[in-house]
Amino acid sequence: MPKQARFVIGIMLVVAAIGYLIASAVSNTAEYYLTVNEVNARRGELSGQMLRIAGRVVPGTIQWDPSSLTLKFAISEPPAEGESPVTPVAAGSLGTAVFNVLSRGQPKPDMFAAGRDVIVEGQLDGDNMIEARQVLTSCPSKYVPKSKPE
């Protein structure tokens, strides 16, 4: 066999192995990344699946018990792009789905607050409840408070 061909075979084997690693890792670790309304629209097919759900913390729903590290809150659909990123959404505004989130055994993230955008990782059960494995807060490098300079 010519030398060059031998190397081509070796290279193809390595490339195939890396491709296989990627493909198998994707199928084992993929999670849906959806917003609250998207989850609501297709909840039938999603029950029991690991999800990452982007939502906004509904003001007035946060319950935090530091001694048991239990955090409960509700999330609603974040406003579409282009809208002001900090407009608080009123609890249960019309036409918006709301899910309750329960996080146990995790400290409350620093940036967690009413009206903030969060990503909740967990499974949705039958009663609109998400048992969260992780709650991530988005932390924009430029946080824009109420009084943006004009």
């Binding site: 030398k3 060059q4 031998r6 190397f7 070796g10 290279i11 390595v14 490339v15 890396i18 690693l21 990627i22 198998s24 890792a25 994707v26 084992n28 670790t29 993929a30 999670e31 849906y32 990344y33 959806l34 990452r52 982007a54 935090w64 530091p66 001694s67 048991s68 590290l69 792009e81 990123p85 055994g105 995790q106 400290p107 409350k108 620093d110 940036m111 990503i119 990782e121 991530l136 807060t137 988005s138 932390c139 924009p140 490098s141 430029k142 946080y143 824009v144 408070p145 009084s147 300079p149 004009e150």
Partner: protein
């Protein structure tokens, strides 16, 4: 001040545009004075952008809140050091900073190659072209000197997460690494344009490539260290898109630095090298694009802004143009030389390149997966850290193995028998380490192989040093220490590289140890209460409140007991930044080579005296940082000016035939 800055940026755009015209016309019509004026224009550009940077810096230091940038990223109470770092803490400032580095580096290149009439004019035009894009952005799209209509009394302050020592040095390092990668890219483009396909472009920019790699390495490590100290989750790397954006160019640059040795020595892999530097450079642009465009949601994404489309268009233009240029030259680039044997250094390097690029591709795929799945299947699917861990863990093992093989295996071909003799010592070292770990009670196959391979890789470096030093001792009767020092000094590029390998092996041990053996304990305590973390017991002594104009803080005092004996006190704290109304965590870390004790004051209850602590015990993570330090030292050794190499490059620059018959000092040793 703002007017001065704005004017300087406008002038910079003009002179940079002029330099391209002058360089190209001057070279094609052979008018040296025009080429010289192009050079002067680039120096003027460097001066102009410097003026703009100083203008923004002055405005920040003077808290001139009539400037939107200052009002958005600084405040009256912000410590002076962070007023300086606010220069690159926001969108416009970081682009200005980037442009500044590009202008300075271009000016340096223009000086270094002032006597070169072959590649330099084209390379400088490429660099000027890049500068024009950034200057266009700064002049018309994202202007750092925009004013506010109504001046606020105080600024909104820098994000508290960025008010940290590591965050102060992480972005400049990364930007330096990103921007200096454009120098080898520019010379590669110039080689393609002019049809000078010898390794002249590689040799004249090798130092820039190593320089870039050095700062990419530091940038990644500083970022990891920042995440470790500031984010308070006990880890240092989360495979976030922003982190991946910095990691991918590093991987490809590492591959490039290895494969150019093959071209310099064997005249092979020409197309591959040109492709690699193109990919590395495009990845730096891609990194800037994804951190600023909001296309990929990142947990710590940069400001959403209108820059995305511009960056994407620019990235596509560069990629398409470079690919087309490369494809048009493929026929002329084919190399007659062939690989001879799998048992050769060429082959080891080839596979190291495949693995590095494979890792980069996997990271790229995982980072873009949400976008791709949405485009193809209409639903966003993400792959999180488990994906990256699963793919990269086996590839990392392969890489460490090849890192051990590369330095010892002979060029061209070798016999199995010779291989067995060469690798006997490192192999035994690796097996002993594995056996030792097994006896010590470790059972995970991955950890056992990782530690064995790391010991194997360290062993090969040891063998190389011993071989070189004893050869010197035979010839010169030097003392062993003297021999090692001279060995490094005389072949700094090669032995600097080996020192980097030591650093990589150590860092790998740190990563494996901290990933597999991290333990976490969470508990809410009253003052006087205690918690057990591995062999340690932590007693919560009490909270201490403090306040300055800039921030409020609550500091917990923890007494650390080791097997009943008090050994240290730790002070994790919670900070509250007044301007941004935002809490932040200040972690307490007690670091030893065996393990890090990492305490977070997760939350405090104002009504009672209850405090929740989250404590991590992370074995071996010390070695990640130590390994990073060793890598940095090795790179400095490799970059240290070497008289023989310098004269060789000078000859190259003057356009003599040195490229073909270069002295051995420039080459990688046997």
């Amino acid at each position: 001040m703002p007017l001065v800055g704005e004017l300087a940026l406008a002038l910079a755009l003009v002179v940079t545009s002029y330099s391209i015209v002058a360089n190209v016309l001057g070279t094609q019509r052979n008018i040296p004075s025009l080429v010289a004026s192009a050079r002067h224009a680039l120096w003027a550009n460097a001066a102009m952008v410097t003026v703009a940077v100083l203008a923004l810096l002055m405005s920040l230091l003077q808290s001139d809140f009539s400037l939107e940038y200052v009002a958005s990223y600084s405040s009256l109470t912000l410590p002076t050091m962070y007023k300086v770092t606010a220069l690159w803490g926001g969108q416009q400032g970081s682009l200005l900073f980037w442009t500044w580095l590009l202008a300075l580096f271009t000016g340096i290149v223009a000086f270094q190659y002032r006597r070169s009439a072959v590649l330099a004019p084209y390379a400088l035009s490429v660099l000027a072209g890049l500068a024009i894009f950034f200057l266009f952005m700064l002049n018309f799209v994202t202007r750092p000197f925009d004013m506010v209509t109504k001046m606020p009394t105080d600024g909104q302050d820098l994000n508290p997460l960025l008010q940290n020592y590591w965050m102060a040095i992480h972005p400049p390092s990364l930007y330096t690494g990103y921007v200096s990668a454009s120098v080898p890219f520019a010379f590669a483009t110039a080689a393609l344009i002019t049809g000078r396909f010898d390794d002249g472009w590689i040799r004249s920019t090798r130092r820039w490539a190593v320089f870039s790699w050095f700062f990419l390495t530091l940038g990644n490590l500083f970022g990891a260290r920042w995440a470790y100290e500031v984010l308070g989750w006990g880890g240092y790397w989360a495979w976030d898109p922003v982190e991946n954006a910095a990691f991918m160019p590093w991987l490809v640059m590492t591959a490039y630095l290895h494969s150019i040795m093959i071209q310099e020595r064997k005249d092979m892999l020409k197309i591959w090298n040109l492709a690699l530097i193109g990919v590395a450079f495009c990845l730096t642009l891609f990194g800037t694009f994804i951190t600023r465009s909001g296309v990929i949601s990142s947990v710590h994404s940069f400001t959403q802004s209108g820059l995305g489309p511009f960056f994407l268009a620019f990235l596509l233009c560069v990629t398409v143009a470079y690919t087309a240029l490369l494809l048009s030259r493929v026929k002329q680039l084919r190399s007659p030389a062939e690989m001879e044997s799998y048992l050769s250094r060429e082959a080891a390097f080839l596979f190291n390149n495949l693995v590095l690029v494979g890792i980069a591709f996997a990271v790229f795929w995982g980072t873009l997966f949400p976008v791709l799945s949405e485009a193809v299947r209409g639903v966003k699917i993400t792959v999180g850290p488990p994906f990256f861990d699963k793919v990269n863990a086996p590839l990392a093992l392969a890489l460490i193995f090849l890192m051990g093989v590369g330095p010892l295996i002979a060029w061209r071909r070798t016999s199995l028998h010779a291989l067995a003799t060469t690798f006997a010592t490192p192999a035994v070292l690796g097996l002993m380490t594995g056996l030792g770990a097994l006896i010590a009670g470790l059972r995970q196959w991955y950890v056992l192989s990782a530690f064995s391979l790391a010991a194997f890789a360290l062993g090969t470096v040891l063998v190389e040093f011993r071989r070189g030093a004893s050869a010197r001792q035979h010839m010169t009767a030097e003392t062993p220490v003297r021999a090692v020092v001279n060995l490094i000094a005389k072949n700094n590029r090669r032995y600097g590289g080996y020192i980097i390998h030591v650093g990589v092996a150590l860092a790998f041990v740190g990563i494996v140890g901290s990933s597999f053996f991290k333990t976490e304990v969470k508990k809410t305590l009253k003052p006087g209460g205690s918690m057990d973390v591995g062999p340690y017991e932590l007693i919560f002594l009490g909270l201490d409140h403090d306040a300055t104009a800039h921030l409020e803080s609550a500091r917990a005092e923890l007494q650390v007991l080791y097997r009943g004996e008090p050994i240290a006190r730790m002070y994790p704290a919670k900070l509250f930044y007044r301007r941004q109304q935002q809490p932040a965590t200040s972690v307490a870390i007690r670091s030893t080579p065996m393990s890090d004790l990492y305490a977070v004051l997760a939350s405090i209850d104002d009504k009672s005296d209850l405090a929740t602590f989250q404590v991590f015990l992370t074995p071996l993570v010390f070695w990640l940082w130590a390994g990073g330090f060793v890598m940095a030292i090795g790179t400095v050794v490799a970059l240290w000016p070497n008289v023989r190499e310098r004269s060789a490059i000078a000859a190259l620059v003057r356009g003599t035939v040195a490229a073909e018959t270069g002295p051995p000092a420039v080459l990688e040793g046997e």
